[in-house]
Every structure is written in C-alpha cells, then in structure tokens.
Symmetry: none
Subunit: 109 residues, 2 copies
C-alpha cells in the first residue's frame, strides 16, 4: 500500500509551510517575495516550496526569470477526505447524528 497521502501530510507538518500556504491564499508570489516574509534564506524557503510542490499544494509557473507560486487548495482534498473518516467518532457529530435520528420527523435545520 503506497501512501499517496504522505507527501501532502508531510508538507503540512511544518509551520513555515503552513504560513506560506496562507500567504499564497491572498496572492501569488515569487520565491523572493515569499522569502521576504521570513527570517531565513531564500534557499531555505525554496526548499519549503519544493516540499509544497511535492505535496501538490502549490503550482509554479515561469514568467521570465521569475517563478510564480500559486496556491493549489484542491491538493488538500486527500487530507480532508482522510480526516472525514474520523467524523463518525467525533462526539459533537455523534450528538448531532443522535439528534437527527431522534428528531427524524421534526428536523430543526
């Protein structure tokens, strides 16, 4: 069983990378622009971007000598799907389900 989830979970496991994703949610950015937001070298940021790319969480397009990094939020779907499996064990959701069943004929929403 090859774990196709691994690159994405791995990419999300670092706080710097999660912060980068948030930034890219606001606007596309070059590597230099991303680097400006962190107290680390451009090379280090570049590595993070590579990991994000491997996790399919960003896309990169070339524009002249620049590399524009774009958020690929859809890449998070495998992770959210994996997490959804556990919804059934979540107390609140269980309570909601119980509610839904008990109030089968009088839904409150």
């Amino acid at each position: 069983m090859t774990d196709h989830l691994q690159p994405t979970f791995r990419a999300l496991a670092d706080p710097t990378r999660r912060a980068i994703l948030h930034m890219l949610g606001e606007r596309d950015m070059t590597i230099a622009q991303v680097s400006d937001q962190f107290d680390m070298t451009r090379a280090a940021v570049k590595k993070h971007l590579t990991v994000l790319k491997e996790g399919d969480l960003i896309a990169v397009r070339t524009k002249g000598r620049e590399r524009i990094n774009t958020l690929n939020a859809a890449g998070m779907k495998p992770v959210t799907d994996w997490l959804k499996f556990f919804d059934q064990f979540w107390d609140e959701k269980l309570a909601d389900l119980k509610d839904a069943i008990e109030n089968k004929d009088t839904p409150n929403a």
Copy 2:
C-alpha cells in the same frame, strides 16, 4: 504566536501513526495489541503513541498493568478547522468570482 497546531500536524505526519488512529477507531487497544500489528518493536510503537498523545489525538487510561489507548477524534478539530480556511479556494469558479469582485474597484496591477 505559539503554534498550538504543531503537535497535531506533527502527529499526523507519520503513516504508522495514521494507521494506529485507524485501528483505534475500531477498538481500544493496549500498547502490546497495537505493537502486534506492526513490524517494529513495542518501544517504537510506544514512541508513536506518545506523539499521538502530545497531539491530543488519543487518550490513555490505566487498567491494572495495562494502558488502554483510546482514539480522541475531537483532537483533529484544530486541523480540520485550519483546513477549512482553504475551502474558499477549492472551487475554481468561486476563485474566479472572487477575483472578479476584488478587481472591480481595485485593480491589482
């Protein structure tokens, strides 16, 4: 800003730990029982369980000389909440619409 998400994201970043969570979804297990499911020592599994505990993804209760490990699915909420922020970017059409609205009065170029 201390990153309270980190222990949980960290815990989820390992395939063995994700597999353990799945197992605990089916039934509570002692350390020995979990270990039996993997080709690694009990000590290694114990470490994984410790990381899962730190991520608040499992609870442990003592029963005699045994330690019963229980899934705490609610511990995933911080992660799912973090991921929800990106829902707004999932749908390409939504993103396009967002662009159109944002550029109406304040062109960004």
